[in-house]
Amino acid sequence: MNPKLFSLLNIELIKELRNKYILAGLLVYELSCVLLVKFLVQYAEVSKNEETTLLALFWLTILFSIVNSVVSSFQKEPEGRMFYYRWAVSPEMFIVSKLIFNFIFAVLLALIGFVTFYTMVGFEMQNMPLFLATVILSCGGYTIIFTTVGAVAMGTRNAATLTAILGLPLIIPILAFIAKLSMASLEPAISDIAIKNLLLLFVLDCLIGAFTYVLFPYIWRD
């Protein structure tokens, strides 16, 4: 083999092995993604129709666009501006503003995703209001979780990957609701169980939102 090519490969390998945490992070990232697919597919109690596969793909598309939007919202802040924020506003104010903005942004992204997915790929949606309510509530959950872990990962080495690694295992409870609710919206009538799940998802959003509100000042302190 060409010795120069070999030493280049060797350098790549050494670079990869130098930081074991980044390597482990990539592995966890990959495993989390596999688990996500498994859970989406399993909670929908699949193999009943092909619609569930399309729904799983739809939710993964939405999920990763929201992850990217939240990650970039923290990377856009230069270090100097954070100092200014610390001086000018309270941590609660800061996190609430981030949550509200990221939530609106996520809902917009999800709606654009839904319209394009619906027109280009298409699935048999029978109960649009229920599905849209699920989209909005799950965007709320995604936003809260990824904003919190984004704040946690802010200022660490490779914050972008870390945000995903920290957040992906945490959104699985929301996925359990999403899968059940999107299966319910394949049927025209709204069942009591669907309403109950929708309410529970709302309660879950509020609860983790409250924890973010309480915990964020501790991250903010420097």
């Binding site: 074991k20 945490y21 980044i22 482990a24 992070g25 966890v28 495993l31 989390s32 688990l35 859970f39 399993q42 109690e45 979780i145 919190t148 872990v149 946690v152 990962a153 200022g155 660490t156 080495r157 490779n158 870390l162 690694i165 920290l166 992906l168 295992p169 945490l170 699985i172 409870p173 359990a176 609701f177 059940k180 169980i193 109950k196 799940n197 529970l200 879950l204 609860l207 983790i208 924890f211 973010t212 915990l215 964020f216 501790y218 991250i219 302190r221 420097d222």
Partner: protein, 348 residues
């Protein structure tokens, strides 16, 4: 110090008692497992660790819908094999909606043992009807003792000898949950006090919880392979376990990605609390959502362990096992804390 001795002694005890106490007696199979009305069949019953003998007063019944039917003739082949002649007339079997019959054997040594739904009555009759079969049930059920005299773990179909995994798999989860709660508690303490020692404790408990989680998954997967037929069936509890492991892996990677120890302590504590809240919600709320089933005992219509499988002999090993594994978890965490303290000292 004394509790480390207690832990070691208990671990030796559960290893010895868990492996040496024999399996109780039970019925493993019946051949043939289907039969038809109106003729006498000879069933060969295979027992495990049983003491069938002509002297031990062996009786056999077939049971469907709370009704007992006596076997017409019982022949003891050896201590673990019986040949039982049994037939049921159409007049007796037709009113019953349940066509699965339990086989119940009682003798003086083994007590009462049974194979639930061991044989199935096929619809339709046979060509030559045996008219000597009784048309009314005159079976008498009278036993001297129900309990086996032997000191043994209960015999359960499907589980068999693997019931001993109760002393390893189940306590692993208890220990993991206990350590996660401790880790979360010390994370909260760190945010309250800013004392780095609390963060060190939280990190150690988190890492050891991860190890116990992985052990729990491995023991569970081995168990599931032999009882449920596949290592990873669809089950909400398995998902909870997988999530717990991913969360604490992420926690360790987070800790490894920050160099400044005060900053590391602060963000790791915040993540640990946030993650624990979601994790605990997930394992206690999601399995109770409407329309969720689980293969685990105590979920989705399956009877809980305490109701069914935890008899007094199992308890004698199971409770010490829970204490022993939790103590071991604390012990290992303690060592980890001391190693980390030494490392910090060495750095300075």
């Amino acid at each position: 110090m004394w509790w480390k001795w207690l832990c070691a002694a208990l671990l030796v005890y559960i290893l010895l008692a868990g492996m040496l106490i024999p399996m109780g007696s039970g019925i493993s199979s019946v051949q043939p497992y289907v039969f038809k009305a109106d003729t006498v069949f000879t069933f060969s019953v295979k027992g495990v660790n049983t003491n069938f003998s002509a002297q031990s007063n062996t009786q056999v019944w077939f049971k469907a819908e709370q009704k007992y039917f006596c076997a017409s003739k019982i022949e003891v082949v050896d201590a673990e094999h019986l040949n039982v002649q049994f037939g049921i007339s159409k007049a007796l079997s037709e009113p019953l909606k349940d066509n699965n019959y339990d086989i119940i054997v009682n003798n003086d040594k083994d007590g009462t043992i049974a194979l639930r739904e061991g044989v199935t009555l096929l619809p339709g009759s046979v060509a030559v009807v045996d008219s000597t079969l009784p048309t009314t049930n005159s079976c008498v059920v009278e036993v001297d003792n129900n309990k086996s005299a032997a000191f043994a773990f209960p015999f359960r179909e499907i589980l068999y000898e693997s019931i001993r995994n109760t002393f390893y798999h189940v306590p692993m989860w208890f220990t993991m949950l206990f350590l996660i709660l401790l880790s979360t508690y010390f994370s909260v303490r760190y945010l309250q006090t800013n004392n780095l020692q609390n963060d060190l404790l939280a990190a150690a408990f988190g890492s050891v919880a991860l190890v116990f989680g992985i052990l729990g998954i491995v023991t569970g997967m081995i168990w599931a392979t032999y009882t449920w037929g596949e290592p990873w069936p669809n089950d909400p509890k398995l998902n909870g376990a997988a999530i717990g492991i991913m969360i604490y892996l992420a926690y360790i990677i987070l800790r490894g990605s920050v160099d400044d120890e005060i900053k590391r302590a602060r963000i790791a504590s915040v993540y640990s609390i946030f993650a624990a809240v979601i994790f605990i919600l997930f394992i206690f709320v999601v399995p109770r959502l409407p329309g969720t089933d689980s293969l685990h005992p105590g979920n989705g219509g399956n009877p809980a362990f305490s109701k069914y499988d935890l008899d007094s002999h199992l308890r004698m090993v199971f409770y010490p096992a829970v204490i022993a594994w939790i103590l071991l978890g604390l012990w290992v965490s303690g060592i980890l804390v001391r190693i980390n303290l030494l490392k910090e000292k060495h750095k300075k």
